[in-house]
Amino acid sequence: MIPELGHLALILAFLLAIVQGTLPIAGAARRIPSWMALARPVAQGQFLFIAIAWGCLAYSFLSSDFSVLNVATNSNSQLPIQYRFAATWGSHEGSMMLWVLMLSSWTLAVSIKSRHLPDEMAARVIGVMGLVSVGFLLFMLTTSNPFERLFPVPADGRDLNPLLQDPGMVIHPPMLYMGYVGFSVAFAFAIGALLGGRLDATWARWSRPWTTLAWSFLTIGIMLGSWWAYYTLGWGGWWFWDPVENASFMPWLVGTALLHSLAVTEKRGTFRNWTVLLAICAFSLSLIGTFLVRSGVLTSVHAFATDPRRGVFILAFLVIVIGGSLTLYAIRAPKVGVGARFDLVSREMALLANNVLLIAAAGSVLLGTLYPLFIDALNLGKLSVGPPYFDSVFVPLMTPLFFLMGVGPLARWKQASIPDLAQRLRWAAVVSVVTAVLLPFATGEWKLGVAFGLLLAFWIVAATFTGVRERLRSAGGGLPAQLRRQPRSYWGMVLAHLGIAVCVVGITMVKGYETERDVKMNVGDTVNVARYVFRFDGVVPQRGPNYQATRGTIVVSRNGTYVETLYPEKRLYNAGGNPMTNAAIDSGPFGDIYVSMGEPVDGGGWIIRVYSKPFITWVWFGFIMMAIGGFLALSDRRYRIQTQRDAVLPRGAAAKGAQ
């Protein structure tokens, strides 16, 4: 009963989405208020039905209803309850359900928080999101119905892939999809602006908070994915430039460019066409990512089971949405130039350069990800493109970007001078060079690569502090007053930029100083890694709720003193067949010790892998800082009082930049 209810709800949502996607937009074009007025209630209705549908699916999983094919394929009666819940989105169909749930949630949010928008704009934005929803719901209903039944009903399910039976599964996909899908709002605003022919600073101001919110969630989602892979896969890797990872990273890069571009368009009214194009690109990359993951076009450990039929559908959808929006862009993007002028040396220029670098980076990632496909399609052979390529291409692009991060916030709008900037930043430059050169000596092994990475990171920190100090000084009053005077969006930027510095430190130190030993150990054997001594003390069998495990005991000591005992595991899940590695990790602010078990060898020994990963937690902490920065910027006063002001002031006056 419940699955049928869910299916019905999905169909109703689909019908509502059709209404939502057509009438309001037509109403805006023809100035029919009653049609435009439909947008909000219909969107809210769609959300309601999708929520019901999703709820029915979740209920089927929680109650282990194996008559539902999706549940039977991805769940098991012995699966702990939180993973039964997470299994709701553990399959292609389920993840599509999550996609449309996120989309309708964002639409709901827009419908509630759009009172200050002119009616035509609100109608268009909600309408465009409705059209996207139509596509996804149609896809689900025709090719990926999560409510399909299975007869005869099996006694038990096939179990969720053991790799996914982890808290990461509960939180990573929802966060990721919140971000991914959230770019649809910026996209809808861009399309709405193009449709309405009104592309100005006001449009940028409306788009910005939505974009920042989506970006912050995506930042968290990516961070969680990396961290989860690290502790779950058993070999200490945290970023593989895997096509699916790239599929989420590209929208993030473009989204970052978009954030900066929106800032300029809002403040100065410039870069309008460029910003609109970026908004279209960011969401397009989200859609392309969705395609890549499900179509079987690329190999990836993350990819869902493939089916060319689904691939064709999504591709057709892509062509319609992206092709359509880019055509609209070509036709409607105003012929006005970049707007108010600015000099070669100016903050505008720094931000534009930031954009060029980020887009070049995103483009390179796309190139590398799709290159094997290009070569194969042209019958030129088979290639593989992996981390060596991406690392060697990404780092040179990020280097000038990090340099600019220090300079940009200090540069004046419109017209800045290099001698002036150099003078203000000379202290920062000296400090960063000196610390970057000296610090690696402290580890006992000086490396040029490490010094270079640290230089970039410290430069960002020093330059940011210089900027902060300048601003506080010019504000006048005592320190508390100075601090309070700065808007939260400023602190958000500071925090986000510092977050990047922290991340760079983490990456530099890990890549520079990580060590690994992969050894055959018998009971009593020891191995030395990074000043620690690891002694293997044998294995014992363990039993979990839905698995059997072999648990190893590794005793860690340093300079003869006992430090701790680690218990890595090798698990065999009851329903599945393949063994899974559960690493034992000791995580600290200055690094991780990571131990995992390989395979047993004849004679009672095991292959044990021991890693030292210095500063690796800084990588993820940096990302968290960025996300918090984003949320902080969102809580800025001007967004909170915006609604009030717009009620009082006429719309034109509201366009005069925030205060």
Partner: protein, 176 residues
């Protein structure tokens, strides 16, 4: 309309074209660089007659198939009936390369599932497999009279591949 504004669209259309082409290809398949090159020479113990050996030199002058199989290989079961049927037609000798297997398990598997091989040889440590660029089981190689590899089937042989590619090629090679 400014022509330059169409560039993003043009880029996307090209991209979509490639993505579409990609849907009909298999990204995991790794084609063999050995096609057209001499088959790596080997001489291995026979599965059913451990005192005797069989090598590539013994097969010179004949067109033959080498099928890489193992008792632990699940997909091998899929293609096995095809091989057994093919063997009955007596078109080509089929040599089995028993890859990384236990002889007892291998022999038992053949008893259970039928033995299409004129002989099976044992590649216990997988060295010969590596020489042939084997990365998954089953794989099948078609080798001509001069000992050159002419075709490699990755994964189980399908009816389709057999009729459309392998048999015609065998025909052609046998005539020359």
């Amino acid at each position: 309309m400014n022509r330059r504004m169409l560039i993003p669209l043009a880029i996307f259309v090209a991209l979509a074209g490639f993505l579409f082409a990609g849907l009909w290809r298999d990204p995991r398949e790794v084609p063999s660089p050995l096609i057209g090159k001499p088959a790596p020479a080997f001489k291995l113990t026979q599965l059913h007659a451990p005192q005797q050996m069989l090598g590539t030199s013994d097969m010179k002058g004949k067109v033959w198939l080498m099928n890489v199989w193992a008792s632990w290989c699940v997909s091998c079961r899929e293609e096995h009936p095809l091989l057994v049927a093919l063997a009955k037609e007596n078109i080509v000798p089929i040599v089995g390369l028993n890859y990384k297997d236990e002889p007892a398990a291998g022999m038992r598997w053949l008893t259970d599932n039928g033995d299409p091989y004129t002989t099976s040889v044992m590649d216990r440590d997988g060295r010969v497999g590596i020489d042939f660029g084997v990365y998954g089981v089953p794989e099948t190689f078609l080798i001509d009279k001069a000992g050159t590899i002419r075709y490699k089937q990755i994964g189980p042989i399908t009816e389709d591949a057999l009729r459309k590619k392998i048999l015609p090629l065998i025909n052609e090679l046998q005539k020359s």
